[in-house]
Symmetry: C2
Subunit: 227 residues, 2 copies
């Protein structure tokens, strides 16, 4: 049977959230942002376990913290300086019998299990998939001195979210290739694209926000309460 | 002295908000979205009056409704089939002695007076200015069958907001030119760009959301309460 492992990078400290605060451990309606993100991913029937990537030195804390997930956190891995390195470290802990790898931000607590299943399903068929939502706003590009140089056609333009999902060989090959070629991306799917493998866009949700500022916490709380 | 008039298109009915509901008259913490948008613009010291553009047939309602603004609503104008036509109709009611025209969505109630002043100030100096916020998310473009064809560099990419502000001759010329050439844009600044006049980007706020879905109402309420 299919084995699906989710890598959750939780090594980032938000500089925007305020000094020294790990945004992912902030309480959101009584439960840490990170805990909500992990529980949401584990609530998806397609997902069999989680690998948590944490900051160097925080492994002991998270080892005991993750006991609350009843053995579903399969490994605690030491993160790197960049998110890309953290995911790569997480990949090294993916068991040999895994078929699909899901990567999900620890700071996206509002993801629905259904959307996790959707993106996993798409990756099974197509090799790689990412969640995203169509751009609703007018988009402009600026040049020097904040002068507008173009209104970019927004048709077919998407704001990318996580989870992203990949057949395990696709994501491992892409990360290896990216490391060898010094290729950097703001997400994992872009490494797969640069490597030359197809990526499918799956319709996400505007509610699936990334909690990176104090305002985001307010929004996330309001969305949670409205559920 | 400078005379600054704000045009507020309020002719849109949100199809996303639910059948038959004018989103701009929905109550947001006890005050209609549109009323909040108007009051926020009028709270800016740079703004001398408002022209309200409404749906055909709704002029009588808004004529009495607008009495609450103590004479600061200078005209009620009949809107068109598209937003662009509504703004054009609004322009025809701008008094001859006006120097700067501000266009602000009736569905953006969270704009701060300071940001209105910022964009007006930029338009005075540069001719035309729009508010916007840098794109934070990874952006991808899809082709056929939702296949990703590109991760678009997000550097220098902005999500455009209102208010936008213009020297009065600039916006009038651009709208006239656009009408003559059958040019359509998702915002007014894009008509100025197409006409060939410079537009400056002014740093807006992520809180300045456009209320177009029930979820947006939840977010707007949460942001208002947190203020």
């Amino acid at each position: 049977m299919d084995n699906v492992i989710a890598i959750i990078p939780a090594a980032g400290i938000s500089k925007r959230m305020g000094a020294g605060v790990d945004k992912q451990l902030l309480s959101l309606c009584g439960q840490a942002v990170l805990e909500r993100s992990i529980r949401a991913v584990l609530a998806a029937k397609s997902v069999d376990g989680v690998i948590l990537v944490v900051k160097p030195g925080e492994e002991p804390f998270f080892l005991s913290w993750s006991e609350r997930f009843d053995g579903m956190v399969k490994a605690i891995v030491t993160g790197g300086a960049q998110r890309q390195e953290s995911v790569r470290n997480g990949l090294s802990a993916v068991p040999d019998d895994a078929d699909v790898v899901v990567v999900h931000d620890g700071a996206r607590p509002l993801i629905s299990p259904q959307l996790v299943n959707d993106v996993v399903g798409a990756a099974r068929v197509r090799g790689a998939a990412t969640l995203g939502v169509p751009v609703k706003d007018t988009v402009k590009k600026t040049g020097q001195d904040n002068q507008v140089i173009e209104t970019v056609p927004r048709d077919k333009l998407w704001l990318v979210q996580t989870p992203q999902a990949f057949q395990v060989n696709v994501i491992k090959d892409a990360h290896r290739w990216a490391q060898q070629h010094g290729c950097h991306g703001t997400d994992d799917a872009s490494l797969v694209e640069a490597y030359g493998s197809p990526v499918t866009m799956v319709y996400g949700s505007y509610e699936n926000i990334k909690v990176t500022t104090p305002e985001d916490m307010i929004l996330a709380e309001a969305l949670l309460k409205a559920k």
